[in-house]
Amino acid sequence: MRSFRGFVVKEFKQIYRDKRTIVVLFGMPIIMLLLFGFAIRNEVSNVEIGILDASKDSFTKELIQKIDASDAFQVTSYLNSYDEISQVFKEGKVKEIIVFESSFENKLERKRVANIQLITDATDPNLANIVQSYTSKIIRNYVVEMNAQEGGNSAGVQLNFKMMYNPELASVNLFVPGLIAIILMLVSALMTSISITREKEMGNMEILLVSPLKPIHIILGKVLPYLVLSVINVIVILVLSKFVFQVPFEGSYALFFAESILFILTALSLGLLISSITNSQQTAMMIALAGLLLPTVLLSGFIFPIESMPFPLQIVSNIIPAKWYLIIVRGIMLKGTGILFLLQETVILLVTTLALIMLSLRNFKVRLE
């Protein structure tokens, strides 16, 4: 036990001695959270749009003004013919062209209906979708207002929406829990995988192996400092998300920390497994970074909803631990869900962690090749 304690102390010293890495380890999650918390969102702002107005009457002018005045849009170009559209799109700045048909107001007065065409540059389908629905909303609201002024009635179905848990549809609320998962997953897996392969690469592994330490002690000693580090990171992220981003926290803190520690352990043991099957830091890092980064971002439901994926991928997404952690964290933070509804996810994480530890212990070679 004493030798184990000594080893742990050595590991702590080795990590905290390297000031640059420490700054990166603590600073990075903070910068990332601040940057992404503010920058990653699905609401649009200041999108450049163009107008092709064949009518130029008071109605279209007022509507254009209304659209230009919204935060979402900025009218930057006025076109004169259809043929100009493709050139404007190819330059890539303007994302949508609003086309008013000729004698618009006239038709609206007499036929009671007129046409507006919304042409989007759909190379980015997501943006095209958002831009289109924003514009339609502005147009519809304008028409409703106009009708109300003229004294129309409000017969028929009146639709009221209520957005549960996240009334402003703020993407920050969704992305912050996601960022926690990504940061924990990547930092923890990366750190452990590197620190063990490093010993191998530098030739120190021999010394550790002939020492009275058991493999399990070596592994624990390697993992412990990073567990502490990660828990500190979780606390910092939580404080930031609460006070900077005002992300609601409905559930229990104790449960949140318990689940977070469980997830950190999953990530750490994944790092262990990587280190036990590789021999150089380079390979370990490439697996931990290049191999984990995109799958964790894409398949966890962090940005893209899992329900939208094709069925086979929905199945594949089950092996991504971050997916389960995300469900748990979003549940606790936004809905205030208790452990009862999260049992399945917790058990899955637990089993994954145990399996990963077993696997890496089996692969941990006590002899040199």
Binding site: R41, A290, S308, P310
Partner: protein, 374 residues
């Protein structure tokens, strides 16, 4: 020149000797491109919903059926109390709850307003937004049908004005995400190889102590750097070509622009990214540090590169930050050239910016990298 040739030979040997690395260099990017391109979509396939119907009339029943008739909404259950239904929402079993008040049918038939409530699980804001816009368009349709009948029977009321909105999506009429994602994901995969490997390769020499041997050898500074960069440049280009072939023949992505343009710009871009990796390696002492910094930059580049969430949806200051993001330029260029058929005329400015960045990185790196040990 002979020195360079030997150095290159050594580097290639060193790369291809590491058997653990080969699948990471060649198989992993292809595999990720194939699998992950399908994951990046916001399409709403299906949303389960529940109904609490206090009216229980023919019309309310018709409304529910109208929702169900769309491919998107699937009726999960009918509840008799709102509380019960909300519990189901908390457990994550339903995404939407439709509550119809008593008197719904009577109100519609007599031309009064008939309120209904739709409660959406908005934890995922983008999904909630989609549910909102789909359901409101279905209900608007329902409304128009029923009102038309009411109007006809109760004679002349002035019709409200209405504007017909006709959407049309150019270059990608079906709003197909794959077309959009594949070029972007390909860029990211190639960038990762460029920045991670070329950077680490030099720090590795430091860490292993072999840099001293190189320092006392007659190798020139530029020869050493070129020998470090060229192998991964060729590997990156090779991966890119495989990726493009997959995109063309596997994913059926239209190649509207010229392939030569893409490959030329890709060549330039890879050098820029590699020089950035080189710069990182001259600023760090261990592979671990180099890796963390490279990883940190890469995550920022990817998440703020307009790959997943549109740059236009960022606040203005963040949009300005992306001007310094090489990955976002290349993603943009790839999409413009491949999907819109843009040519040099439209993209040359961005290429110039990339070249400028590369020159800047190289300048700093050369300044930092000395052949005498510190």
């Amino acid at each position: 020149m002979r020195i360079l040739r030997y150095l290159l030979k050594k580097e290639y040997l060193q790369i291809f000797r590491n058997k653990g690395m080969l699948p990471i260099l060649f198989a992993m990017p292809v595999f990720q491109l194939l699998v992950l391109s399908f994951a990046a979509t916001y399409e709403l396939k299906q949303a389960e919903f529940a109904v609490v119907d206090f009216d229980r009339s023919i019309l309310s029943h018709e409304l529910v059926q109208k929702l169900q008739a769309s491919d998107i909404f699937k009726l999960n259950a009918v509840y008799f109390s709102t509380e019960h239904a909300l519990e189901e929402m908390e457990a994550g079993n339903i995404k939407m709850l439709l509550t119809i008040d008593a008197g719904f049918e009577k109100n519609i038939k007599s031309g009064k307003s008939a309120p209904i409530q739709i409660t959406v699980d908005a934890v995922d804001g983008s999904i909630a937004g989609l549910i909102q816009s789909y359901s409101s368009s279905i209900i608007a349709e329902f409304n128009a049908e029923k009102l038309g009948k009411v109007k006809m029977s109760s004679a002349a009321v002035v019709l409200p004005k209405s504007v017909n909105i006709i959407p049309s999506n150019w270059y990608n009429p079906n709003l197909d995400y794959i077309t959009f994602m594949v070029p972007g994901i390909l860029v990211v995969l190639v960038s990762m190889i460029g920045i991670f490997l070329s950077g680490m390769n030099i720090v590795r020499e430091y860490e292993m102590g072999t840099i001293e041997q190189l320092n006392v050898s007659p190798i020139k500074k530029w020869q050493f750097m070129v020998a470090k960069l060229v192998p991964f440049w060729t590997i990156g280009m090779f991966d890119l070509c495989i990726g493009l072939a997959l995109a063309r023949f596997g994913f059926n992505i239209p190649f509207l622009g010229s392939l030569v343009t893409i490959l030329t710009i890709a060549g330039i871009y890879l050098i820029v990214i590699q020089v950035l990796g080189l710069l990182i390696s001259t600023l760090t002492n261990t592979q671990q540090q180099a890796m963390f910094i490279a990883w940190f930059l890469m995550v920022i580049f990817i998440l703020m590169g307009g790959l997943f969430t549109p740059i236009e949806s960022m606040p203005l200051w963040a949009q300005n930050l992306t001007l310094a993001n090489p990955v976002s330029y290349f993603i943009k260029i790839m999409r413009m050239v491949l999907l819109k058929g843009s040519g040099w005329q439209e993209v040359y400015k961005m290429v110039l910016v990339l070249v400028g960045m590369g020159a800047l990185f190289l300048g700093i790196a050369l300044n930092r990298f000395t052949k005498t040990s510190a």
